[in-house]
């Protein structure tokens, strides 16, 4: 029932396998150099003992800046410089981004803590008028990178070949490059992993083991997306035109 995911700053030992902390609405996560058990320990001398606190809500989260004199910046990595500042002592500042990076200034270093809010809600055209709308269980932001990745994965099948093989990772990167010049295998893979989290894909036994079995995940994502019309043929234009958002 988690709704917010916190990805701690990379440390040299586990650069590859960054842990993800999942928070349910109402849960709090304190971070800093010396935090009680259950908190997020950031071992860096430049970070306050209790540096801050993340409070999870359903669709958004709030940041409390517990440090004495440092301002924290929360960036939207896909937002072309969009950011908010949280001054020292400010409590429970709501953060509206789906992806956020809290940048902690620490004695010359900048430590990124990533926070994802995958439960954002979006309007659907089909919503009716009588009483409360019946909402789809997932909604996607069509301006986000993950949507472009999903569209590229679905493209062959949407173009009328229902059993077409899925594009390979390199083909996806190639396809996205005109609108996303910095696309790489790693960033595409990151977005695929995020989509699996966001769409709450039930991992099948084929994907029980991490590693080479990515195809199962891609295949499940595409079949889910097509089944529930998360990507439609009209959406494929985003592969050729920038989606209105500026680039990093």
């Amino acid at each position: 029932m988690y709704s917010i995911i916190v990805v701690p700053p990379p440390t040299t030992e586990d650069e590859r396998s960054r842990t993800q902390l999942r928070l349910a609405p109402g849960e709090r996560l304190v971070f800093g150099r010396s935090v009680p058990a259950g908190g997020l320990l950031i071992e860096h001398d430049g970070v306050s003992r209790r540096a801050g606190e993340i409070t999870a809500h359903g669709t958004f989260w709030a940041l409390s800046n517990l440090s004495g004199h440092q301002t924290y910046v929360v960036e939207n990595p896909e937002g072309a410089g969009e950011h908010i500042k949280v001054a020292p002592g400010r409590l429970e500042a709501p953060v509206p981004f789906e992806f956020s990076r809290i940048v902690l200034p620490a004695a010359g270093d900048l430590l990124p803590v990533e926070v994802w809010a995958p439960r954002h809600d979006y309007l659907r055209a089909e919503d009716g008028a009588d009483g409360e709308p019946t909402a789809p269980a997932f909604s996607v932001d069509r301006t986000k990178r993950y949507f472009a990745v999903l569209a590229a994965l679905c493209e062959p099948r949407l173009r009328g070949a229902p059993h077409a093989p899925l594009p390979t990772m390199d083909q996806v990167v190639e396809r996205l490059r005109p609108t996303w010049p910095a696309a790489s295998r790693t960033s595409v893979q990151w977005n695929i992993d995020y989509l699996a989290v966001k769409l709450r894909l039930k991992p099948g036994p084929e994907t029980a083991e991490p590693g080479p079995r990515l195809n199962g995940k891609k295949e499940s994502l595409v079949s889910l997306a097509l089944r529930f019309d998360l990507v439609r043929e009209d959406d494929l234009v985003i592969l050729t035109e920038p989606s209105g958002q500026a680039h990093r």
């Binding site: 349910a24 109402g26 009483g131 894909l201 039930k202 029980a208 083991e209 089944r227 019309d229």
Partner: protein, 530 residues
């Protein structure tokens, strides 16, 4: 109404014998119009009806795969179920009107015409005096639906219709799903205020979201609180904050604080619907009895009293749910017997007899000959496992997943050795489970384990998990593969169904395994059986 209609139909438009009159409502998936009959109805059709237009035409902009599926669900349910408290469907029509591409091809459901919805009634008059009587009928409708083996999936005031005589009908079955065992699969839609906490942000598989009848019971609790007090049971000014409150309540960080305006007789009822977990929730039949007791049996027509409270279950399965990883063999086996004997299967969750008191001899049939007509008794299948093997096979509705197949696989995998431990291959127990794979099959309700389990894996855990996995594999094997399908299922267990499909049969590496399974399959199958 300022909202645009999903399917605009001009007044006076003719479909079949019906002439469209004024619009009634529009929803996410279609629009409803009043209509009057123009010809004679052959004695079958009423003078007025509600026509629900669903955009299924080839030229409609909303020609969407999932819409079609939602519509098919509703038509399927209404065709098959005629119950006093469910909206009645008289016929379905397809618009044939090439001149109007928006309407051409639309599906039209001809439904009983209601006076209005409970949603409109509550807007005009919160806390209606007839509330308890209305709720008793809603509950009777739910019971009729659940007995027939369906889950509504989207119970809320807008989907409760009020007829001219004051009676209630449940409607809008786009999310309804037929139970498959303890679960049904519904499209991934829901109304947040009526969604039980376990389904908030729940995992979604390729078939949609898994729900249980207890989801409707939660929704009924919310609805009852709203009708009787004018407020939602969980605090918050918006659906999003109430959803957060539901999540906090389910995690145990907050208590349920029902409105003081809730009448005492209803307080316990609402509380028994709004439990933190689905397992603690009251069963539909028990709920109906309590609601009837609270209202003095207010539901006149088609009531539920005096009927045998037996939920129809298409497939007997799930008897050992909540068995948990730590359940010892004896306890688990005993519950399986209860399922096998077909006890009154109303409320699995909650009032199952205390497993601690079970001693593994749950029935009169001695273990050594349990299921003798399906699994030979003279070929060395250990008596201790017969019950588990036979009942595990029965839990799966696929005929291929039979007792001899499970027994043959256990023979080949481990020679029935419950203590097998093969760290080199990372396989353990009688079914040679790999821990990271067992995780996805260890729980009877289909949820993955919180963490990767650690061996030992006792047979009471290994064998039912194996059955669940085999049952999942079976429909995924391509049709028309050569060879015995049961053997292909066994090989898929060893490798994966995808490899078997790719190889269009048994991959060479697994031929020996397949031959051995086939050998024991034949050996364990009683004569005269396939």
């Amino acid at each position: 109404m300022s909202e645009p209609y999903a399917v605009p139909v001009p007044k006076g438009y003719r479909v079949g014998v019906w002439e469209v009159r004024e619009p009634i409502a529009t929803g996410a998936f279609g629009s409803v119009y009043a209509a009057r009959r123009t010809g004679d109805g052959g004695g079958q059709l009423p003078r007025t009806a509600a026509l629900k237009f669903l955009p299924t035409g080839t030229d409609t902009p909303r020609q969407l795969a999932h819409l079609r599926e939602l519509i098919e669900r509703e038509v399927e349910l209404l065709r098959r179920l005629k119950r006093p408290r469910l909206i009645r469907m008289y016929e379905t029509l397809t618009v044939d009107d090439p001149a109007d591409p928006r309407l051409d091809g639309a599906t039209v459901l001809v439904l009983e015409k209601a006076e209005g919805s409970l949603s409109a009634r509550l807007a005009a008059e919160p806390r209606p005096p007839a509330g308890p009587a209305l709720l008793a009928q809603v509950c009777a409708g739910l019971a009729q639906l659940h007995r027939a083996g369906w889950v509504h999936g989207d119970l809320k005031p807008a989907n409760v219709l009020l007829m001219a005589d004051g009676s209630v009908r449940l409607a809008d079955f786009n999310m309804a799903a037929e139970l498959e065992g303890t679960h049904a699969y519904t499209p991934a839609f829901s109304t947040p205020d009526y969604t039980p906490p376990e389904l908030l942000w729940s995992e979604i598989g390729e078939r949609g979201r898994r729900i249980r009848p207890s989801a409707d019971v939660w929704a009924f609790g919310v609805l009852a609180h709203l009708v009787l007090t004018g407020s939602f049971p969980l605090p918050g000014a918006t659906p999003a904050t109430r959803r957060d409150a539901a999540a906090a309540y389910a995690r145990g960080t907050d208590e349920l604080r029902l409105s003081p305006e809730l009448p005492d007789a209803w307080r316990d009822i609402v509380r028994s619907c709004l439990t933190r977990t689905h397992a603690d929730r009251i069963g539909t039949e028990a709920l109906l009895r309590r609601v009837e007791a609270a209202t003095g049996g207010a539901d006149g027509a088609g009531g539920g009293t005096g009927r045998l409270p037996l939920l129809r279950r298409p497939f007997a399965r799930g008897g050992h749910r909540t068995g948990g990883r730590r359940t010892v063999l004896a306890a688990s086996a005993a519950t399986v017997v209860v399922a096998g004997l077909g006890y009154g299967i109303t409320t699995w969750a909650g009032d199952r007899s205390d497993p601690g008191g079970a001693d593994g001899r749950g029935g009169a049939v001695p273990a050594a000959s349990y299921g003798a007509e399906e699994l030979r008794t003279d070929r060395g299948v250990p008596a201790a496992y017969r019950l588990l093997i036979v009942e595990t096979a029965h839990d799966c509705e696929r005929p291929e997943v039979s007792p001899p197949l499970i027994a043959a696989m256990l023979r080949v995998e481990s020679d029935f050795d419950p203590n097998l431990s093969d760290p080199a291959k990372d396989e353990y127990g009688i079914a040679r489970w790999t821990p990271s794979v067992l995780r996805w099959w260890m729980n009877a309700d289909g949820t993955p384990g919180e963490t990767v389990p650690e061996p030992p894996f006792p047979p009471a855990e290994s064998i039912p998990a194996m059955g669940r996995y085999l049952c999942w594999i079976t429909p995924r094997l391509d049709a028309g593969l050569p060879g015995d399908r049961r053997v292909l299922i066994a090989v898929s267990y060893r490798t994966s169904y995808a490899r078997v499909n790719d190889a269009a049969g048994v991959p060479p590496k697994y031929r020996d395994y397949a031959d051995r399974v086939a050998h024991y399959l034949k050996k364990y199958t009683p004569p005269g059986r396939k």
